[in-house]
């Protein structure tokens, strides 16, 4: 029976799940703060600085404010779906964290605890599947609002995510041809000792990061909520914490996609210029250092997300489709062909 699991493993995984989910929530909370600080910095103004030292408690104040706002459910909306929308957005945002290898093994209580919730052998496909489900939260919420602007936003989100999924999938195929595995853990292990995939797949990474921006609905691709044309896009009718969930899900998505990019292309928890194998006697500290390196890589990616948001203006919708279908897909196909040819010529 392959489903029989011992009790200790269940407890261990439960604790790990709680830590990872709570961790991503806290990180997302402070990402909202960091976003406003970075925006202030790029626009030469101080940013939030009133609540606590350096405005540290701003996210708490924001959260409290959202909780105390009046909650409005429009009369003509289908209520169950209206509530389901933000819940689904949040759920799909958090689900991806299950397969990310946050670090190496930790030795505690005479047990080797892997800092990864589930090392399934189809890890990258799981990420891809959950990402493709992410659009439902937006679409269902948009449709249930019974508002033309919301519906437009939802339809835009759907066509945008489907279009960019294609290029993303093809760029991942090139990576898979190179690594020969679907498990994120194994990909990270292959990249130890500085052989990061970015060296071999620069074009693939470029396509992947552009698609990640589009899948997260981040500027310059946030057409689903383009304020200048659609008021608030898919969340026009939302208020209080339901709106908060939508906004928050975006930041969690950003955090998780940064983690995916760091583990696919930038070595995951591999510390650059540091030979882990030679310092095996450090035990748990080694795993913690790895975790720290991974988090630093994630923070750098999140900063890039913000940097682009406050630098590049929003695309027009036809420009978005043009970029997705006529530039990224042919480029991704070329990248796949070139990778195949290189593997054939040089061998693995």
């Amino acid at each position: 029976m392959f489903l029989s699991i011992e009790l200790a493993t269940i407890i261990e995984k439960l604790i790990l799940i709680v830590i990872v989910v709570m961790g991503s929530l806290v990180v997302a909370m402070y990402t909202t703060f960091a976003e406003r600080k970075v925006a202030g910095w790029l626009q030469d103004r101080p940013g939030p600085n009133r609540a606590g030292p350096f405005g540290m408690f701003q996210p708490l104040a924001d959260g409290l404010k959202l909780f105390f706002k009046e909650e409005i459910i429009p009369n003509f909306s289908s209520k169950a779906l209206f509530v389901m929308g933000p819940a689904l957005a949040m759920m799909t945002a958090i689900m991806t964290s299950a397969v990310i290898p946050w670090g190496d093994k930790v030795h505690l209580f005479d047990r080797d605890i892997s800092l990864q919730i589930a090392d399934i052998n189809i890890g990258i496909l799981y990420v891809f599947g959950v990402v493709s489900l992410g659009v439902y939260g937006i679409m269902i919420g948009a449709w249930a609002s019974n508002n033309k602007y919301s519906l437009m936003g939802g339809l835009r989100a759907a066509s945008q995510i489907i279009s960019y999924e294609l290029a993303m999938g093809i760029s991942i195929i090139a990576l898979l041809m190179f690594t020969g595995t679907l498990s994120l853990k194994e990909m990270v292990l292959q990249q130890q000792a500085g052989h990061w995939n970015i060296i071999y797949q620069p074009l693939g990474f470029l396509i992947f990061i552009i698609c990640a921006f589009a899948e997260c609905n981040r500027t310059p691709f946030d057409l689903a909520e383009a304020e200048s044309e659609l008021i608030g896009g898919y969340h026009t009718e939302y208020s209080s914490m339901k709106l908060g969930f939508y906004l928050f899900a975006e930041y969690i998505n950003m955090f998780i996609s940064s983690a995916v990019m760091a583990s696919l292309y930038f070595g995951g928890y591999d510390v650059p210029f540091f030979n882990e194998a030679a310092h095996a006697d450090m035990g748990n500290w080694l795993a913690l250092i790895g975790l720290g390196a991974f988090l630093i890589k994630i923070v750098i990616f999140i900063f890039i997300f913000m940097w682009v948001r406050w630098t590049v203006p929003r695309f027009r919708y036809d420009q978005l489709m043009h970029l997705g279908w006529r530039i990224l897909i042919p480029l991704a196909l070329f990248n796949m062909l070139a990778t195949g040819a290189a593997i054939l010529y040089f061998g693995k």
């Binding site: 029976m1 489903l3 189809i122 891809f128 599947g129 493709s132 439902y136 449709w143 339809l155």
Partner: protein, 165 residues
């Protein structure tokens, strides 16, 4: 009763229940959402059979892409019970007869199965990506290549249509 049997029963209940709900829903959007639940139940069955690749591909292709397009179309046309033209009784009668004969054929097919394997667990690894890949690239290489050419041409076609503004 082992955990596999319990999950098999739960998943089957989920599949049949969501299938019935999909047919009974008045609103087409709700029908689509129940159909998505049904796909999840089927993916759960694939996982019980140790076919993780099939399970996740089922979700990516059906729940993640095809159903999004369905939802897209239904939302864009704003289909619902009020705007639906009333079907006349002759059409309904014909639909009942054809649906009933399909049910008869399916029932007879099920009845003729001699040996039933309600739950076949984990013994096979036919659904794992390694096995599947080997079979696809040896025994079924020609159909596989033909279908991949078909997919590539569909993709190129989409790009070409996009080019004609």
């Amino acid at each position: 009763m082992g955990i596999t049997t319990i999950s098999f029963i739960l998943l089957s209940l989920m599949a049949v229940g969501s299938g019935i709900m999909m047919i009974l829903s008045k609103n087409p959007v709700n029908s689509i959402l129940w159909l998505i639940v049904l796909f999840f139940a089927i993916s759960g069955h694939y996982i019980l059979l140790n076919a993780q690749f099939l399970a996740i591909v089922n979700i990516i292709v059906y729940a993640g892409a095809i159903m999004v397009l369905f939802l897209f179309v239904v939302m864009l046309m704003n289909l619902n019970a009020e705007s639906e033209p009333a079907k006349n009784h002759r059409l309904q009668l014909i639909a009942i007869i054809s649906g009933g004969s399909l049910l008869l054929i399916l029932l007879s097919a099920i009845m003729t199965v001699k040996e039933a394997h309600p739950v076949m667990v984990a013994a096979g690894n036919a659904g794992l990506i390694k096995t599947l890949g080997k079979v696809l690239f040896t025994d079924y290489v020609l159909p596989f290549e033909i279908s991949s050419v078909l997919f590539l041409s569909a993709m190129v076609g989409a790009v070409v249509i996009g080019k004609k503004d």
